[in-house]
Amino acid sequence: MSEKVTLTIDGREIRAAAGGKLLWAALDNGIYIPNLCAVRERVRPAASCRLCFVEVEGSAAPVTACTQPVKDGLVVRTRSERVDRLVRSAFELLLSDHRLQCRECPANRSCGLQKIARERGLKLRLTRLKPLPKEAAIDESAAAFSFDRSRCVLCGRCIWVDREVAKVGAIGFTRRGLERTVTTFEDETLAESICNECGLCVHACPVGALYFKQPE
């Protein structure tokens, strides 16, 4: 048994394995912190979605829970004016780059974005920002699933399972800035690539970017 530490989240005392990250300690104890890109097994978190901000006593500014190691005596608040504001902004930024047609989306009601909206009382529409045009052809080449980049939030979870669990390495991030995308080597379709269509990436996708053609 690994060593345990005791910390306080939102006034609740919690015991967690030493060396772990705060995000998982909270989620394991039923305390929700918004997240999209976090992968428990990942040693160095991507920390790219910027949704899991919390207040940690002693830190001048909110920190990301996925990178914060648990420590004895750590005092955490998952909500504050500053945290809520950052989460709201990061969430709306992601929505502005996401094809927002929930009713047509296969991930409707199982979507990570919808969960965040529900948990934090956020609107599933843009209130301050304009939608960024996002046109992308849907890759329907694989037999069992499709990939719609216009819904992708670039969390990278599909890439992680593809490489670390399936050990295939068919997909990865390419390009920079707004052009950053998940794709195959030389932008081949999934069927042309080395993808063996195991489908693990579809399960890893928190939104409706990767989805099975036949609902499971």
Partner: protein, 636 residues
Amino acid sequence: MTAAAIEAQYAGLQKQAVAKTAVQKSKPLVRVGTATCGVAAGAIPVKEAFEKEIGSRGLDARVVEAGCMGHCYAEPLVVIDKPGFAPLCYGSVDGDLARRLVADFLAGDDPCYEFALAALEPNDVFPTFSEFPRGVCEEKIILERCGFIDPEAIDDYIARDGYAALAKALALPPEEVLAEIKAANLRGRGGAGFPAGVKWEAARGAGDGVKYVICNADEGDPGAFMDRSILESDPHQVIEGMIICAYCVGAAEGWLYIRAEYPRAVERIHTAIRQAREKGLLGQSILGSGFAFDLRVFQGSGAFVCGEETALVSSMEGKMGMPQTRPPFMAQSGFRGRPTVLNNVKTFSYVPHIVSRGADWFKGTGTPGTPGTAVFSLVGKVSHTGLVEVPMGTTLRRLIFDVGEGIPGGKKFKAAQIGGPSGGCLPEAALDVPIDFDSLRQAGAIMGSGGLVVLDEDDCMVAVARFFLEFTRHESCGKCTFCRLGTKHMLDILTEITGGRGNPASLEVLRELAEDVQAGSLCNLGRTAPNPILTTLRYFRDEYDAHIFEGRCPALMCKELIAYYILPKKCSKLCDACVGSCPVEAIFTRADGLKEIDQQKCVKCDNCRKACPPEHDAVVKLSPPSLLSGKEGVPK
């Protein structure tokens, strides 16, 4: 090996170097500044003109290349050092002047004082740079040799006590050298100002295995060229600093990460490394001390974000140049997962000086919080652009008005953009802030690595903010939400405002987004990207309001908010300079012979305003364009 033996070996090297340079000094010497700045201004043809003229006259004089003396406004710069005269520096030299100098000064004895900029040594005849207003303010430590030595001749460096600090350091225990760097409170000059000694100590304490020392020369701020000039002008200074660092932390391998857009710097560093190896200053048992260290060069592919240390290391490892979360910090796990010290070119450059002259000497310059000097590339609307080195704590006013000699053309100062795309725009009221890392952060800007762009009344602050956001949006690696999408939305809002389509609500969204991108981004590129917006909103809110509420650009810069107009009272029937200058035939001659602009056709290229002869000065810019009333072309 004993300390005495190391110093004896160095003394031998220096003796050789001094002897070699002394022989050279007996002949007239022409030094042409051929750092990138000089080359861009035409230094290569000037150098060839000297060589050709000296050759055809059969004179016994040498022509060598040197680096950058920092007087960019007067490039190409040439120094002529003729026995019997004080070395003289000539500015804005061209082929004709080169031939004349050879004929009159080298072949004859007339130094052509009328073309000289300054003397380099005190004399009874001609003033030196130190007597310039700029010379009074400047205090050169790491730029001292720049432009005065041949960067491709290691003996020039050694003759001027180069590598003496290394010999001194190698004769001491590493802890003692490290203690001196720590005591000097040398703060990293890459922008963040983190104490170098603390970094080094952490890397030193990180076990006994393989460690790396990396020099960050991925300078990428628009308008900044400090690191490039130092690498091109005094490469051995950087190398010496890196070797001393490696000795302190126990590293055997070092890398210089230089962007590929700096081919001259890369070439000169390669030459310098080769020469240092030949002298036994790099490689196995440096100066016979038993300490081994060698250097390699990695050329960065030009992504701005690779100046961020985790992205830099990722790109060296063959991965995408994208930042990662910290910890682990470099000192624990950096390049190839090994303890790594990563410092800027300028930071390493201070090291030999601190080792030679001691921490107390270093702390005698600058502010208590930030000892030493600051190196700036002073550019923009300033008379004497250049590379300058002033003590920390110098005010912006002194830097711009004394060192830079003010704003050209009698224009009014508006702002100092300091720290590049991560920095901010400071107004007149902030000019008396003594510059150091902490004071600038308080003012909303950052020290950055030293870019300082002066803006005058013709610069629109909203457009300036937009320029920098366009840069950061383009350079965002796209990994994290705030930077990838936040910079895009902020840029879109700024584009609306400069295009006359802004509204008060979007200004509020801009402010909120700027604060959130600052607080929420993964790396410092994103965290500092909103600074140009936040500082212009803080100090120049009136300009945003003028764009949004009045459709007016106060600086008459935003094309969509201005109109060109020919003042009939000033226009002359006898002149049609503007008509020919217009690329779209928008200017026509009225029945009364005066010229007028067809506003429908005008593309606001500014050609007519430039073409109009100064005696008429009839073309003006108006903002908002509604000043042109319904009547064609007549202002209200």
